[in-house]
Structures are given as structure tokens and as C-alpha cells.
């Protein structure tokens, strides 16, 4: 990383809203790590304390800071565990999408011809449907579960990475240092991994950050529709979905998971935008 790049990055990340975003994300990550150690626990029911408002103290002395749901489960514990679910699914599916997208992008861009046509055909097919519909078709076939959810998100979320990498490879292939490496007898694998990939990495960092927000939002949407994480495991989308019928008597159940989602995704997007401003001076 060159000195000027580091300075630009530093300047972009020092802006107040970006600092705030990073703090929110650290908080969400901390919640995800802490969740299993929470003393109340996300599935502990208390049928004598259902639909209690935030700050409620039960006769046995348990304080429900964010209230309880229809089964008397502590909403804060459920939201903390929801952070763990959201981040796990988001990061795992992002990893899958990155690996597939980078591999397909490198292959399509470097080899062209038939390889490129086949990969373009696959991306066009995936782009022909809204993501939700694709997920509906998959879940209708194999049923909802955590691995299915991660695979669905990962196997459909790589298209933008592949396009990005392919485009960059087409440019880089003509660069002198790549040509030089090829004529010196470097293997294709070495050229792609040592010379091409490092040049795509900054763009992937930007796109990957923004894609993480999209994936977390998609997971929440699918869980909301009942096609993702199944109860009693708490996910932000699922809590919202279960809580929506209690909207008139317990506003906190459908409201707070949405606030958590909004803050998380907003922070990811603001961070992604800041990285984009810093890393792509051309725009």
C-alpha cells in the first residue's frame, strides 16, 4: 500500500459518521461474541411475564431491559443472539460468494472464449430473477435450514464480484508487467494470483463491504418470510415476523429488531461508501 493511498484511507475513515459506523459494528460484533454467555438466554420462557415493556422487573428479580415477547422470553437476549446469527450468516455467505466470484471472474477474464461465455450465461441466468424469488425456488425444493440459507446466499451473491474481477482482469492482461511475467514463463496460476489478484483486492474490499450489508438484509428478509432461520432460534427478521401481530399491544417486539438491522446495515453501507471514496479516486 503506497503512502498516498494510506493517507487517503486514513482521511476517509476519520470522518465522524465513519467513526460512528465502525463503533456500531464493533458493538454488534461484541454482542455476537457475548450472546451465548448471556445469563437469561434467548429461549428461556417465563409465562408469567409475557409481553412486558422495556425495563420490566419480574417478581424473581430478573430485569428485562428491552422487555419480553409473547412467551416471556427476554428481548435483549434474543437480539444479542440475533446479532450472532446475522453476522455468522453474513460473513459465511460472503466468504463463499467471494471465493466463487473471484475464481469465476479470474477464469472468465483471463481465458475468454468458451469459459467466458459459460460464466456469462450463468450470471445472466442468476440476474434474470429477483434474489427473493431464487431463494423461494431453492427453499421450496430443499426446505429451510441454516446451511441451506448460507449456501443460497453464497451461491447467488457472487455475481457482482465476478463482474468486477472479470472487468479488471481484461484491463490488467494488457499491462506491461503482466505481459512481462507471462513472457518470462510464469504459470497462469502464478500470474493470476500474484500479479492480477492484488490489483483487484481494493475494489473487492469496497464491493465486499457493501455486499455484506446486502447479504444481512437478505437473510433478515428470508427469515421474516419464514424461509430462513426457523424458530425458536432467534434471528432479527424472525423476531420481527413473530412480533408483528403484537404490534398494537407490544410495539417493542417488532420495532427493536428493525432498529438493530437498520443501524448495522447503515453502518456497513457508510463504511463501504467511505472505502469507495478513498480507494477509487476515479469516481
Amino acid at each position: 500500500m503506497s503512502g498516498s493511498l494510506r493517507r487517503r484511507l486514513w482521511r476517509a475513515l476519520r470522518r465522524p459518521r465513519v467513526v460512528a459506523s465502525v463503533l456500531v459494528l464493533i458493538l454488534v460484533a461484541a454482542a455476537a461474541i457475548y450472546a451465548p454467555f448471556d445469563p437469561i438466554g434467548p429461549t428461556k420462557q417465563d409465562l408469567f411475564a409475557t409481553l412486558k415493556p422495556p425495563g420490566f422487573r419480574s417478581p424473581s428479580g430478573v430485569v428485562h431491559l428491552l422487555g419480553t415477547d409473547q412467551l416471556g422470553r427476554d428481548l435483549l437476549s434474543r437480539l444479542l443472539m440475533g446479532a450472532r446469527i446475522s453476522l455468522t450468516i453474513g460473513l459465511a455467505s460472503l466468504a463463499i460468494a467471494l471465493v466463487i466470484g473471484v475464481a469465476f471472474g479470474l477464469l472468465a477474464g483471463y481465458f475468454g472464449g468458451v469459459v467466458d461465455s459459460v460464466i456469462t450465461g450463468i450470471t445472466e441466468t442468476l440476474m434474470a430473477l429477483p434474489f427473493v424469488l431464487l431463494a423461494i425456488a431453492i427453499v421450496a425444493a430443499v426446505g429451510p435450514s441454516l446451511p441451506v440459507l448460507i449456501l443460497t446466499l453464497g451461491l447467488t451473491g457472487w455475481v457482482s464480484f465476478a463482474k468486477l474481477v472479470r472487468g479488471r482482469v481484461l484491463e490488467l492482461r494488457e499491462e506491461d508487467y503482466v505481459q512481462a511475467a507471462v513472457s518470462l514463463g510464469a504459470s497462469t496460476r502464478r500470474v493470476l494470483l500474484r500479479h492480477v489478484l492484488p490489483n483487484v483486492a481494493p475494489l473487492l474490499l469496497v464491493d465486499g463491504t457493501l455486499q455484506l450489508g446486502t447479504l444481512i438484509l437478505a437473510e433478515a428478509g428470508l427469515s421474516f418470510l419464514g424461509l430462513g432461520i426457523q424458530p425458536p432460534t432467534p434471528s432479527w427478521g424472525g423476531i420481527l415476523s413473530e412480533g408483528q401481530i403484537f404490534i398494537a399491544v407490544a410495539w417493542w417486539i417488532p420495532t427493536l429488531p428493525g432498529v438493530a438491522l437498520l443501524l448495522t446495515i447503515l453502518s456497513v453501507n457508510l463504511l463501504g461508501d467511505a472505502l469507495r471514496d478513498a480507494l477509487s479516486p476515479g469516481d
Binding site: G121, I122, E124, T125, M127, A128, L129, P130, F131, V132, L133, I136, A137, I138, V139, A140, A141, V142, G213, L217, A220, G221, F224, L225, G226, L227, G237, L240, S241, Q244, I247, A248, W251, P254, T255, P257, G258, L261, L262, I265, L266, V268, N269, L270, D273
Partner: protein, 305 residues
């Protein structure tokens, strides 16, 4: 233009072929279809006989060829849940979805264009920051949460609007605004960027130097030339509109295609899901072709090939 349409046709054909393959693989992943169709206690001999009668014992390529033939004839079979032709069910629900989606796109454009232009012409002002903040927040807000908050405020607390269902114009307000707000961010941001870019061009400066009023410069000269990226983004967003309408329709009990498909998944009603997948894919292909063709109308210099 003709060569463009020809190439587009071939590409669309390949895309639809890819979809048939995807759907075929998914159907076969879903387990033995006979088990879904026959009662669980059916004797083994009956299962074998029925499997043969339905052609499920043929080799995979033969079954794929048969599936292709059926799709080509728009024959998606009968809904397991409702016993009616799947395609008919889907087409019956389509108008409600298109009305909602169309209204949402129109609202997003009507609100988004002025906001984006304002942000661009008053660059780095308070207005610019405010509009950009609204755009990012809009893009980060979960649609289903926004919908529920809308119901909480306008239907439960204020009692101004109905919470769900279809009926008079009041029923359109919450679902279409929710969906529109989701699209707004993208339209605002691309309008701002492309107007900013055009405002720096020579012909805009000369129009200004000629003494053309600012309002006219922006809306006549700048926006017209900034139109192509804006239309492109609207075209790309159509995918998300249809995706978002699945969620919006579910929250607001809107009798559209999205809600039908979600209900079909719960019932494992695969023929309906299949018909829905192909109808939406064909719609999106048509819409994107129209977007490409509209480039030539927006800018006569563009020749699509």
C-alpha cells in the same frame, strides 16, 4: 436495431434455458415427487406403477427433455394446493403486483429526481448532506420493518389508513410508499452523480453564459443528458422492485403474485413456484429490453447493436 433485437432474443433464450436447468435440478433435489402425490401409506407396488405412469422412472436426460417440452408449451402443471392450472393462478395475480410495482416506481422517480437534482445543484450544502443521508438510510432500511412501522403509525395509532388488503385508493398508500422508499436511495444517488457530471460540461456552461435561467439549464439541458444512467438504474432496480414486492405483499396481505408464491412455498406447491419463476423472468427480460431501446430515444447518438 434489428441485429440488437436478434442478439437479445438469443441471449434471452439462453437465460430461459439456464432457468429450466436450474428449476429441473431443484425439482430433483426436492426428493421423490411421488411421495408428495401419493398418501404416505400407499403400497410399494402402487408407488412403482404410479412412478411409471407419470414417467418418473425414465433416465434424467429424457425427463429434462420432457420438462423442456412442457415449459415450451407453457404447461407448468396443476397447483397441488388449489387444483387449478398453475400458470392461470399466476397470471390472475399479476395485475395486482404490476399495479403496486408501477405505482412504487412512479413515486420513487417523482420524489427521487427533484431530490437528486437539488443535491447536485446545491453541492456540499446542508441540502446535499440531508438528501444523501436520506438516500443511504433508505437503502439500509429493511422493507418489512418500514412496512410494519407504517402500519403502527398510520393504521394502529393514527387510524388514517387501512393496515392491509385491497380496496379503495387508501389501500395503495402504505404498500406503494414503502416499496418506493426502498427504491428512492438508488435513484437519488445516481441522479445526483450524473447531474453533477453533466453540469461540468461545456454545453451547460455555454447555456448558462447565454443567460438561460438556472431552472431551465438544469431541467432541460442537464437532466436530459443525465437521463441514460438514471434510466439504467431504474431498469436494474426493477429486479429489486419485484423482489421487494414479495415482502411488501406479504406484510400488507396484498393479493399479488409475491404473496401467492410465498404461500406456494409453504404448501410445497412446486408447479405454482415454477410458473411464477418463469413469468417473472420473462417480464424482467422484456422490461430490460425496453430500457435498452429507450436509450436510443433519450439520446439519438446511441446506436444499439
Amino acid at each position: 436495431m434489428l441485429t440488437y433485437l436478434g442478439r437479445r432474443l438469443v441471449l434471452s433464450f439462453v437465460t430461459l434455458l439456464g432457468l429450466t436447468l436450474l428449476v429441473f435440478v431443484l425439482i430433483n433435489l426436492s426428493g421423490d415427487p411421488i411421495r408428495l402425490l401419493l398418501p404416505p401409506d400407499a403400497p410399494q407396488s402402487e408407488v412403482i406403477a404410479y412412478r411409471h405412469a407419470m414417467g418418473f422412472d425414465a433416465p434424467l436426460p429424457v425427463r429434462y427433455a420432457r420438462f423442456l417440452g412442457a415449459v415450451a408449451r407453457f404447461d407448468f402443471g396443476t397447483s397441488i394446493q388449489l387444483g387449478q392450472p398453475a400458470l392461470g393462478l399466476v397470471l390472475e395475480r399479476l395485475p395486482a403486483t404490476l399495479a403496486l410495482a408501477g405505482l412504487a416506481v412512479a413515486l420513487a422517480v417523482l420524489i427521487g429526481l427533484p431530490l437528486g437534482v437539488t443535491a447536485a445543484t446545491r453541492r456540499d450544502s446542508v441540502w446535499d448532506s440531508l438528501v444523501t443521508a436520506v438516500a443511504v438510510t433508505g437503502q439500509s432500511t429493511p422493507v418489512f420493518w418500514l412496512a410494519i412501522m407504517g402500519i403502527l403509525l398510520f393504521a394502529v395509532r393514527l387510524r388514517w389508513l387501512p393496515a392491509a388488503g385491497i380496496g379503495g385508493w387508501q389501500h395503495y398508500v402504505l404498500p406503494s410508499l414503502t416499496l418506493a422508499l426502498f427504491l428512492l436511495g438508488g435513484i437519488v444517488r445516481v441522479t445526483r452523480t450524473s447531474v453533477l457530471e453533466v453540469l461540468g460540461k461545456a454545453y451547460v456552461r455555454s447555456a448558462r453564459a447565454k443567460g438561460v435561467a438556472q431552472r431551465l439549464v438544469v431541467w432541460r439541458h442537464a437532466l436530459r443528458n443525465a437521463a441514460i444512467p438514471i434510466v439504467t438504474v431504474i431498469g436494474l432496480q426493477l429486479r429489486f422492485v419485484l423482489g421487494g414486492s414479495v415482502i411488501t405483499e406479504t406484510v400488507f396481505a396484498w393479493p399479488g403474485l409475491g404473496r401467492l408464491l410465498v404461500q406456494a412455498v409453504y404448501a410445497r406447491d412446486y408447479p405454482v413456484v415454477e410458473a411464477g419463476v418463469f413469468v417473472v423472468a420473462i417480464l424482467l427480460i422484456l422490461a430490460n429490453t425496453l430500457v435498452d431501446v429507450s436509450y436510443t430515444l433519450l439520446n439519438p447518438r446511441v446506436r444499439i447493436r
